[in-house]
C-alpha cells in the first residue's frame, strides 16, 4: 500500500469506518511511514487547536438565549411573513389606485362642457342643457352649429354630419 492510497482513506481511518483488514494495513503502513504518520498527527494537532479557538470564540460571544423570541401570536404558520406584508399592502393599494383611475376616466368623458378642452371639446358650441355625448359626436362626426339671432333673441340649432343636416330647430333665448 503506497502513501497516496493511504492518504485517501486516512480520514476514514480516523472515523473508524474501515474494515478490520484495511485498518490493519493502514496501521502497518503508519508504523513504517513517518510522513503519513506525521500527517495524521498534524490533523490531530490542528483539530485540538481548532477546538480551543472555537471554544474561545464561544466564550467571547456567548449564546443569548433570551434574545430569541417566538413569533407573534397572529403569525400565520402557512405563509411567509413577507408575503403577508405584501398582500396587506396590495389589499389597500390596488383598490385605491383602481378607483382613482376610474374616477379620473369618468371625469374625462363626462365632465361638463365648460371644462372640455382637447379631443372631446365641442366643435362649435353646445346649447345650454345639452348634455354632451362624446362617443356619438366622435363616431358620427356630428357637428352642432348654433346661430344666434340677436334681434329676435332666437337660436337656430343645426345638427349635421358628413351626410348632411340631421336636425334643425329654433329655440328662444328664454329656454337657455
Amino acid at each position: 500500500m503506497n502513501c497516496k492510497r493511504v492518504r485517501v482513506v486516512l480520514f476514514d481511518y480516523r472515523d473508524g469506518s474501515l474494515s478490520a483488514d484495511d485498518r490493519k494495513m493502514i496501521e502497518s503502513h503508519l508504523t513504517a511511514c513517518a510522513s503519513c504518520r506525521e500527517m495524521l498527527e498534524e490533523e490531530t494537532r490542528i483539530a485540538s487547536r481548532l477546538r480551543v479557538v472555537f471554544a474561545e470564540k464561544r466564550r467571547a460571544f456567548p449564546f443569548q438565549a433570551e434574545a430569541l423570541h417566538p413569533p407573534h401570536e397572529e403569525f400565520q404558520w402557512n405563509h411567509r411573513v413577507t408575503s403577508i406584508q405584501r398582500r396587506r399592502f396590495l389589499k389597500v393599494l390596488v383598490p385605491i389606485s383602481v378607483g382613482a383611475a376610474l374616477v379620473f376616466m369618468a371625469f374625462l368623458i363626462f365632465r361638463p362642457a365648460r371644462l372640455r378642452t382637447g379631443f372631446y371639446a365641442p366643435r362649435a358650441s353646445y346649447a345650454a342643457g345639452d348634455l354632451p355625448d362624446p362617443f356619438r359626436d366622435w363616431i358620427e362626426r356630428r357637428m352642432i352649429i348654433i346661430i344666434e339671432d340677436k334681434n329676435s333673441g332666437t337660436f337656430e340649432r343645426i345638427e349635421a354630419n358628413r351626410n348632411g343636416i340631421i336636425a334643425r330647430s329654433v329655440e328662444k333665448r328664454g329656454n337657455r
Partner: protein, 188 residues
C-alpha cells in the same frame, strides 16, 4: 425525542421555547462557525427556529431534530450568502464600499482574536463549515457528506484544503508549532 417532534409538529410557542432551549446553543455554535459575525449567527438561529416551526408539519421525524434544524440553518445561511453575493454583483460600487467597511469591522474584531481563529474566519464558508462539522462536532465523513449534500470525496478534499490553509498559518506562527497542552483542551 418523539414528544418534542410531536410538539414541534403542532407548531406553537411552547414548541418554539422548547426547541430553543434544547438546540439553541448548539445551533448557535454552528451559526458561529458559518457566519463571520456573532450577531449574524444569533439572527440566523432566530430565523432557523421561526422557519422550523413554519415547516414543522413537514418534519417526518426520520432524522434527529438537530440534523433537521441544522439543515434549515444551513439553507438559510446559503440563501443569505447568495443574496449578499448577488447584491454585491449588482451594485459593485456601493457593494465594494459596504464590503470594505464590513471587512474592516471584521478585521477589527479579528485582531482581538486568536490568529488561527482569524485564519478560520478568512476561509470560505464551505471550509469553515466542514472544519466545524469534522473537528468540533466530530462527525464522520459520511455524515458530513449527507449534511452538506456533497460527495464523500468532495468532503475529503475540502477537509484537506482547509487543513492545508490552516497549516500555513500554524507554521508561520511559532507558538503553534508546539504541541497543544491537553488540559487546556479538556477544560474547554
Amino acid at each position: 425525542m418523539i414528544d418534542s417532534a410531536e410538539a414541534v409538529r403542532k407548531g406553537d410557542r411552547d414548541a418554539f421555547r422548547m426547541l430553543a432551549s434544547q438546540h439553541g446553543e448548539r445551533l448557535y455554535h454552528a451559526g458561529l462557525a458559518l457566519c463571520r459575525d456573532h450577531s449574524d449567527a444569533q439572527d440566523l438561529v432566530q430565523e432557523t427556529f421561526v422557519e422550523a416551526l413554519r415547516s414543522a408539519p413537514r418534519f417526518e421525524g426520520r432524522s434527529v431534530p438537530y440534523t433537521w434544524l441544522y439543515g434549515i440553518l444551513r439553507r438559510r445561511f446559503l440563501r443569505g450568502y447568495r443574496k449578499k453575493a448577488r447584491f454585491f454583483r449588482i451594485l459593485p460600487l456601493i457593494g465594494r464600499e459596504a464590503q470594505a467597511s464590513r471587512s474592516e469591522e471584521i478585521n477589527k474584531a479579528e485582531r482581538s482574536l486568536d490568529p488561527l481563529m482569524a485564519a478560520v474566519t478568512r476561509l470560505p464558508a464551505k471550509y469553515r463549515e466542514i472544519l466545524f462539522l469534522r473537528y468540533i462536532e466530530n462527525r464522520r465523513i459520511a455524515e458530513i457528506a449527507a449534511l452538506t449534500s456533497v460527495a464523500e470525496g468532495t468532503v475529503k478534499s475540502r477537509i484537506h484544503h482547509a487543513l492545508r490553509r490552516l497549516r500555513l498559518v500554524i507554521e508561520s506562527e511559532p507558538e503553534y508549532s508546539e504541541l497543544p497542552d491537553a488540559e487546556r483542551v479538556d477544560e474547554l
